[in-house]
Amino acid sequence: MALYSEKVMDHFRNPRNVGVIEDADGVGEVGNAKCGDIMKMYLKIEDEVIKDVKFETFGCGSAIASSSMATEMIKGQPVSEAMKLTNKAVAEALDGLPDYKMHCSVLAEEAIKSALEDYEKRKQQN
């Protein structure tokens, strides 16, 4: 049996939405203090809808795959929906992750939340 599901390996080998958005409306970077994985999310938002999303990840297979899956799940979604994304939903969409790897999918949820908070903060400042 392989360590990861086919879906995880697909998203790991061909990550979607990799990169940077230079003029992002919200940027979030989170790290796992324990294992050391780091994830950075960039959001482009128009009329409260996520028009584009990119990520960068320093981490293991499950961290990269869950970043990729999470970006796919929120792209085109209203901000209010994206706020509701959970690590459980990301892991399920990947056909599951090994138990000891769940913390890596938490990073994806946290990175998106952090980018959305950054967006809200910038909105208030303007």
Binding site: R13, I38, C60, K101
Partner: protein
């Protein structure tokens, strides 16, 4: 496929497999039985004991067979501790980068009231004999220092350690699991009192190993039962496995010179190639290391994703990354030699097989370069390093 994880385990040799099958077929008896097929199994067992003893310069009666390296480590350390307690000595010296079979046994003893000093391992992956000598106390009963490290391959100054221990009359155990069959080991010349070995690290079967204990050392049993192994390790002997181990150890020890010559050339070619990757570093001393071991850290990437992508390219390797450990902490070995968490996260161990070719080495260099570059291309840490927002460590 290039199998470059020989420190994890090795493929069994043809001869070891043949020995194993032939013993299973023809010498299936219980060595404790008095009839012919039992007595023949006994002969196989005792011949194996002679062969194994000869491989390390010991006497046959100084060898007991175990289920592998872990059991041998446990038994040696518990023995040293119990013998010490009889004399009121309950201090043990070891090093910070031992295998968990050693470290966890020491933890257990600490809970029982023993005191343990873990010597620092310097940046070169070596302990300092003078620091060992300084750490020895009146109540020190055991020194346990590994012969060669399983992750970074560094070879400890065992002969000097043996000499210091003998001088201070302290028992000296060494976990030689990574050394036997790969570099010359002689328990007399090295003044070793106890030594652990495991067959699957030198093309023998898994689940078999041996413990050498110098004549006169009264071993403490871990397993109680029948009178096998001179009453020191109960249980019907794994005769096919033990015979195969003997075949493997003879073969490996006889080929050390030939293999080492070839492997060192391949190892150094690989090291030179990987050094070309910017912001990378070899872990452990460049020459005081096992002929097969290459271990690098690459800044800005994580080890598990490196391994998965190398696997896609047909290369089997290992890493000390926190994400491969299951425990969230990066390798204690890399931390012990002073690698910080982020850097240890991006480690790669390639442990070569004796049949590795120059072409394979070049393919590994090319593949690692590609994968490191790719992973750095979307690593937020690498971006910060390149942008100068973070200081490069390597």
């Amino acid at each position: 496929m290039i199998y470059a994880d020989n420190a994890a385990t090795t493929k069994m040799s043809k001869d070891a497999i043949e020995t194993m099958v032939s013993v299973m077929n023809e010498t299936f008896g219980n060595p404790s039985s008095l009839y012919e097929v039992g007595q023949r199994a006994k002969e196989v067992l005792e011949q194996a004991r002679k062969d194994v003893a000869e491989a390390i310069g010991a006497q046959p009666q100084e060898i007991i067979f175990t289920s592998g390296g872990s059991e041998a480590d446990n038994q040696a350390i518990i023995t040293g501790a119990r013998l010490g307690a009889l004399k009121g000595k309950k201090h043990i010296i070891s090093s910070a980068f031992e295998h968990h079979a050693v470290l966890h046994t020491l933890k257990k003893l600490e809970k029982e009231g023993y005191e343990v000093t873990l010597l620092p391992v310097h940046e070169d992956g070596l302990i300092r004999p003078e620091e060992l000598e300084a750490a020895i106390r009146e109540d020190t009963c055991l020194v346990t220092i590994m012969y060669a490290n399983n992750e970074i391959g560094t070879i400890q100054p065992i002969r000097e350690i043996g000499e210091i221990c003998r001088k201070h009359q302290v028992l000296f155990h060494t976990d030689a699991v990574q050394a036997i069959g790969h570099i010359p080991v002689n328990v007399v010349a090295d003044q070793i009192d106890m030594l652990s070995s495991s067959a699957h690290k030198y093309h023998g079967p898994k689940g078999v190993g041996f413990l050498y204990a110098k004549k006169g050392i009264r071993l403490t049993n871990l397993i109680e039962g029948g009178a096998q192994e001179r009453g020191k390790r109960a249980g019907t002997e794994n005769v096919p496995g033990i015979a195969a181990m003997a075949t493997a150890v003879k073969e490996a020890v006889a080929s050390i010179d030939k293999n080492a010559k070839n492997l060192i050339q391949k190892r150094d070619r690989l090291i030179a190639g990987l050094k070309e990757i910017p912001h990378s570093a070899l872990n452990g001393d460049a020459s005081k290391r096992l002929p097969s071991n290459v271990n690098f850290c690459f800044e800005g990437i994580e080890g598990e994703s490196l391994l998965l992508l190398l696997d896609d390219k047909g290369i089997c390797a290992s890493s000390g990354s926190a994400c491969t450990s299951g425990s969230l902490d990066p390798s204690h070995v890399l931390l012990a030699i002073g690698r910080v968490h982020d850097v240890a996260h991006g480690s790669l161990r390639l442990s070569l097989g004796e049949d590795v070719t120059d072409e394979e080495v070049d393919y590994m260099i090319k593949s690692v370069k590609e994968v490191v570059e790719y992973l750095r291309s979307f690593s937020p840490i690498w971006r910060d390093l390149v942008a100068g927002k973070k200081q490069f460590i390597l």
